[in-house]
């Protein structure tokens, strides 16, 4: 789950990290009165969860209250990668001499937390990682011990800091790691971490993403997380309203499989034959007839889905249960969308028999099933 910049900064502030003075505005009037309160010039920063906000014009500075009004009006009208701007963070404008980058995240390869730092902050860090990997300093961390200040000081030196900035940097790194650990973050980042004209370090921009799998022990975020689930498309919203998680892939063939890898492979098969899946829907292992029925509903209802492919390899999942689920929906909704089923494995015969009752001849070969659904969608 991603947090907005201002939410991330609130958390960082409560951990004693240096954050620019600022407040959140939900309207133009609020923006103006905040700017009045904290004093001009100010930065106006559209609060969105997607990246590339700067390039999209979501960050502006203003030197007069009139500018604050007109810019905030403009920002509230903005759509950044389909995301509406519902709030603006108004901050006192910093006098920035240099921009650094610092992040703490998970290094999947090393299977350790890693701190990344660079003297080239304020830029697209993935770009730098590709073009100048030597400009990004990495520090792997023993998750049982955490970052020790001396480790962070070594990083500070490597990105060119000197004297008291070494200590300030290491203090910031230790506190960011504490947030990373306490909140089970996936990413804690400041880009830029600014050096001001007084030589102080301050978190000019902030990102904080929480690991979804760890939300069970962070009650404070659970409600927020429910609201903030990615649901960018109509199909995904429809599915979510029915309690089904799927990924919209834009095509016309709805795909349901059991197991992530098998479902991905099924979708890849469609591509192999020149077709595009409507969605990725992993029903998981051991799904019951009811769960199956529930998963089918959004695909039946959603008009873009022209045909449905169900691919079940019955291991722990029983083919007869799946067949009963399909039958249930079939009888209740009397849907007419073409449906191709591949059933194989545990209780395969019984499943096939049940499907026959509603006129469906299930395939045992995945290849045959894929070819069949393609025929259906092409109307051949």
């Amino acid at each position: 789950m991603k947090l907005f910049e201002y939410e991330a900064k609130e958390i960082m502030k409560s951990h004693g990290l240096p954050i620019p003075q600022g407040f959140i505005a939900k309207s133009v009037d609020e923006a103006v009165s905040i700017a009045e309160k904290i004093g001009l010039p100010v930065m106006l920063k559209a609060q969105v969860l997607v990246g590339g906000r700067g390039k999209a014009g979501g960050i502006k500075s203003a030197s007069t209250l009139d500018e604050v009004a007109s810019i905030s009006k403009y920002l509230f009208s903005l759509k950044i990668k389909d995301e509406n701007v519902e709030s603006i963070l108004i901050e006192k404008k910093l006098n920035i001499m240099k921009e650094l980058f610092i992040a703490i995240t998970i290094d999947r390869s090393e299977r350790l937390p890693v701190m990344l730092a660079s003297s080239m902050g304020g830029m697209d860090i993935e770009e730098i990682a590709k073009m100048h990997p030597e400009l990004i300093v990495k520090l792997h961390i023993d998750p049982r011990i955490g970052i020790l200040p001396f480790q962070a000081r070594k990083v500070a030196q490597k990105i060119g800091l000197k004297e008291r900035q070494i200590i300030t940097f290491s203090d910031i790194a230790v506190k960011l790691y504490k947030i990373y650990e306490e909140l089970d973050a996936e990413l804690v980042e400041s880009n830029p971490l600014a050096i001001t004209n007084t030589g102080d370090l301050i978190i000019a921009d902030a990102r904080l993403n929480i690991i979804d799998d760890a939300l069970f022990r962070h009650k404070e975020f659970q409600e927020l997380a429910l609201k903030r689930m990615p649901e960018s498309t109509e199909l995904e919203r429809l599915a979510k309203s029915k309690g089904v998680r799927l990924v919209d892939l834009g095509g016309e063939i709805g795909v349901i499989g059991n197991g992530a890898g098998l479902t991905m492979a099924t979708i890849d098969m469609l591509t192999y034959y020149g077709e595009k899946a409507a969605c990725f829907l992993d029903i998981g292992g051991g799904a019951s007839a009811e769960e199956f029925a529930k998963a089918l509903t959004p695909l039946i209802e959603y008009p873009r889905v022209k045909a449905i492919l169900i691919n079940i390899l019955g291991g722990i999942t029983r083919c007869d249960e799946v067949a009963r689920g399909i039958k249930k929906v079939y009888e209740e909704l009397k849907f007419t969308k073409p449906l191709t089923v591949r059933l194989s494995g545990t209780n395969e015969e019984e499943g096939q028999r049940i499907l026959k009752e509603i006129g469906i001849n299930a395939f045992t070969s995945l290849d045959d099933a894929v070819k069949n659904v393609i025929k259906q969608v092409r109307g051949i």
């Binding site: 760890a214 990615p230 991905m264 890849d268 990725f280 992993d282 194989s344």
Partner: protein, 290 residues
């Protein structure tokens, strides 16, 4: 020979009284696995599938000399359960549990390394050495004993491929699902090194998927340390960026972790990469002839 698991492994089931735990205990026993005891804290003294249940792994170890554990406890209790097995000296720990926070996984992976335990998973189907034993949740009937080692990040896709092989008359030495999480214990690299040393394994099928760079990394030792022939498949060729495809680890971020990158890495070191899962048996036959 097989790797990591054979009929001699003495297994304890952590979380045996849960729905999944008891169900798969039954199936593992039916398959012939030497499951000897279960553990569920607070439930010591009862029996599940004829097996004694204890409050601690220490008891199972003392009384049954178990050396292998399979873990079904909920994510919230998984760190403790894995640490318990590590500290009691269990050598092979299979973590079925899904949804363990990576910070927990990183901690127990560190501790396991120090104490010499091997962890398979989390969020994995487990391990099977066909005809010997299975410690996992995979359907036994899709496998048959033979010369192919399989290592995979996926569950059902592995069953699919194993079954294709079995139907084509090609059996397996050991099949390992290393798990779909971003952080897992046993890696592709670890598994390939073990298969390389295993006399019974003649060729290896490696099933990757999008996300991370485990495939790219293992490619670096193929042809060098790993001389055996490998056939690979990578799922998720058409997955979009930034979307989690089921598994917590199956996500392409910032252009890295794509199927194309992995396929290229394999092809660069001479690995045969299958276009479709059903092409694998033919490719296996092809590489085995060489």
């Amino acid at each position: 020979m097989t790797i990591l698991l054979n009929r001699e492994n003495r297994v304890v089931v952590q979380g045996i009284t849960g729905r999944q735990g008891s169900f798969h205990t039954k199936l593992m026993l039916e398959y012939g696995t030497k499951v000897l005891a279960g553990v569920t804290p607070g439930k010591g003294g009862i029996y599940v599938e004829g097996l004694p249940v204890y409050d601690t792994v220490a008891e199972a170890k003392d009384l049954h000399n178990v050396d292998t554990s399979i873990i079904f406890v909920p994510a919230i209790a998984a760190y403790d359960a894995v640490m318990e097995s590590i500290n009691e000296g269990i050598k092979l720990i299979v973590v079925i549990t899904e949804g363990i926070p990576p910070n927990d996984t990183m901690k127990f992976v560190c501790s396991a390394k120090e104490k010499g335990s091997i962890i398979i998973g989390p969020n994995c189907p487990g391990i099977i050495s066909p005809g010997e034993a299975k410690v996992g949740i995979m359907p036994g009937f899709v496998y048959k004993k033979g010369p192919i080692g399989i290592v995979s990040r996926s569950g059902t896709l592995t069953y699919e491929i194993a079954w294709e092989l079995t139907k084509a008359g090609i059996g397996q030495s050991t099949v390992i699902g290393i798990g779909g999480d971003p952080i897992v214990g046993l890696t592709f690299t670890d598994a390939l090194r073990l298969f390389e040393k295993d006399d019974e394994t003649e060729a290896i099928v490696l099933i990757g998927e999008i996300g991370g760079d485990a495939e790219e990394r293992v490619a670096q030792i193929i042809g060098k340390e790993i001389k055996k022939k490998i056939v690979a498949y990578v799922a998720g060729r058409t997955a979009p960026e930034g979307k989690r495809m089921g598994h917590a680890g199956a996500i392409i971020s910032a252009g890295s972790g794509t199927a194309m990158s992995k396929i290229k890495a394999f092809k660069d070191v001479g690995v045969e990469v299958a276009e479709r899962p059903m092409d694998i048996p033919e490719l296996v036959k092809k590489v085995m002839k060489k």
